[in-house]
Amino acid sequence: MKRPTSLEPGLVIPGRSHGLLDVPRWRFLLSLLVKKELRVRYRGSALGLLWSYVKPGVQLIVFYIAMGKFLGLERGIPNFVIYLFSGMVIVNFFGEVFGNTTKSIVVNADLVKKIYLPRELFPVASVWVAFIHLVPQLVVLIVAALVSGWRPGLLNIAAIVGALVLTVVFALGLGLMFGAFNVLFRDAENFVELILMMAAWVSPVLYTWAHVATVIPDSLDWVYKLYPITAAVELNHVGFWIPTAAVAERYPQGTGPLIDSLPMWAGAALVLSVLWLVVGQTVFSRLESRFAQEL
């Protein structure tokens, strides 16, 4: 911490923080903030967290019937519903992290205005809340995958973890930046909704990379592959969809219609996301000093 020359040792400047690096010291408060958030979200609901299992469960069954059977998408993509749902889980998770972190500072305006805490606590608490909401969707997905003959190896599990890490890093970077903008201009929330809508359709969730490759010019391939949510969705496909029975049968070798040399692209996307997180944190720190007076 920078100390001005006229202050003797032991005196520190109040309100200066090390950003995300300060968060671990506040983990007890972080856990309480997460608990509070969950409590508020499920207040007055008799079934509480159970709703989080019912909704994706019903969704998955509807997709299976409507898209897999009626639309016949299952003929082109084996175990289509697993393909779709493993991508959707990532897109939902991205949306929840990005959306909640963007709103987190404004929502906690009362605290931000009155008491100094590392402000990154609020976005980080949103990430944990999103994680907790992800669990039921993952459970539903795992059950459906097991029914479809899911036999994951270590690499498949690693791909799932990689998908989640990549999503969090990218979404938190965006969320810090937009969360800070949102304090100055509430329009940021609307931008985020727009971005989320695009994110859901641009990444290979409803279709495969093979479909994209035939349309976009080869020279622009890299843009699509470098987009972190594409990489995360494909990693999750590797985790959940590839090791199911019908897929393993159809594509005995390789990754079928997924992006080729995925590890390399995922690695590049992770580097990009980490850089983005640094940018987000920098913007956040710049604007942070104005939070209390702008809210």
Binding site: L11, I13, P14, G15, L29, K35, V40, D110, L117, E294
Partner: protein
């Protein structure tokens, strides 16, 4: 002499924006910037002061004189535009009663939430939990019910009790001395006096002149963002009464 708080030529200017949407901002730019979107005023104009460890200081002044802004600079919620502020150790206190409280949590949960917001560790709170509850005079059957069912008095008492047991290095109190009913107010004052005797550094912002002269040794009077008096609390009170 160990300095607990140093405020060195602090300047704080506020900008009042009249818009919060990009659309209005763009329209304003396109229409030739007619009228002012921004207005600014100096909340603190070159304020300097030093508070020694163990000192009990009352910050006095009329509404809008900059007292709360100064308190927020000390707590780190706001940062000065110019000049600098330094503090020793953990600064916490009652900036606004119940800012860290959530109506959907129980009294006990709120003690943990608010305590940790004020910088207490889980172990600190565990150790002082009974003391906090006892001081708040909230009955056992209420402490585990949600705070939204509390009367306003109960709520204020709990908030004060948590803050009064948070043991920061610098304790800031903003306008909360009038908490609860008469007996509880007396208890709050006793508690503050106790903290003061124990060598707690205190900074108190209030309009209640009788009260502040009982809990502070030193008074600082602000007017329009400048320090106009810094000395014994009785002098500060007299100065304010003379003006009033």
């Amino acid at each position: 002499m160990t300095r607990a708080i140093v405020v060195d030529h602090a300047v704080k200017q506020f900008t009042l924006r009249h818009t919060w949407s990009i659309k209005e901002y763009v329209v304003w730019n396109l229409t030739g910037r007619g009228g002012e979107l921004k207005e600014s005023f100096l909340a603190l104009d070159d304020v300097s002061l030093t508070v020694r460890q163990g000192e009990s200081v009352g910050l006095l002044g009329r509404n809008g004189s900059g007292k709360s802004t100064l308190l927020k600079l000390i707590s780190g919620v706001l940062r000065p535009d110019r000049g600098q502020v330094g503090v020793r150790g953990r600064v916490a206190g009652l900036i606004e009663v119940g800012a860290g409280f959530h109506p959907d949590l129980t009294g006990r949960e709120n003690i943990y939430l608010n305590g940790s917001i004020l910088g207490m560790t889980e172990r600190d709170i565990d150790a002082r939990l009974d003391e906090i509850i006892a001081f708040s005079e909230i009955e056992g059957r209420f402490i585990d019910s949600e705070v939204k069912f509390y009367s306003s008095g109960m709520f204020l008492r709990l908030a004060f009790s948590v803050a009064a047991h948070s043991h920061p290095d610098v304790f800031l109190i903003d306008e909360i001395l009038a908490v609860g009913d008469e007996p509880f107010q007396r208890k709050c004052l006793e508690r503050i006096a106790e903290l003061r005797t124990a060598g707690q550094t205190l900074v108190i912002v209030t309009h209640d002149l009788n009260l502040v002269s009982r809990v502070a040794d030193r008074g600082i009077v602000l007017a329009s963002g400048r320090t106009v008096f810094d000395g014994h609390i009785d002098g500060a009170v007299a100065r304010l009464r003379g003006e009033g």
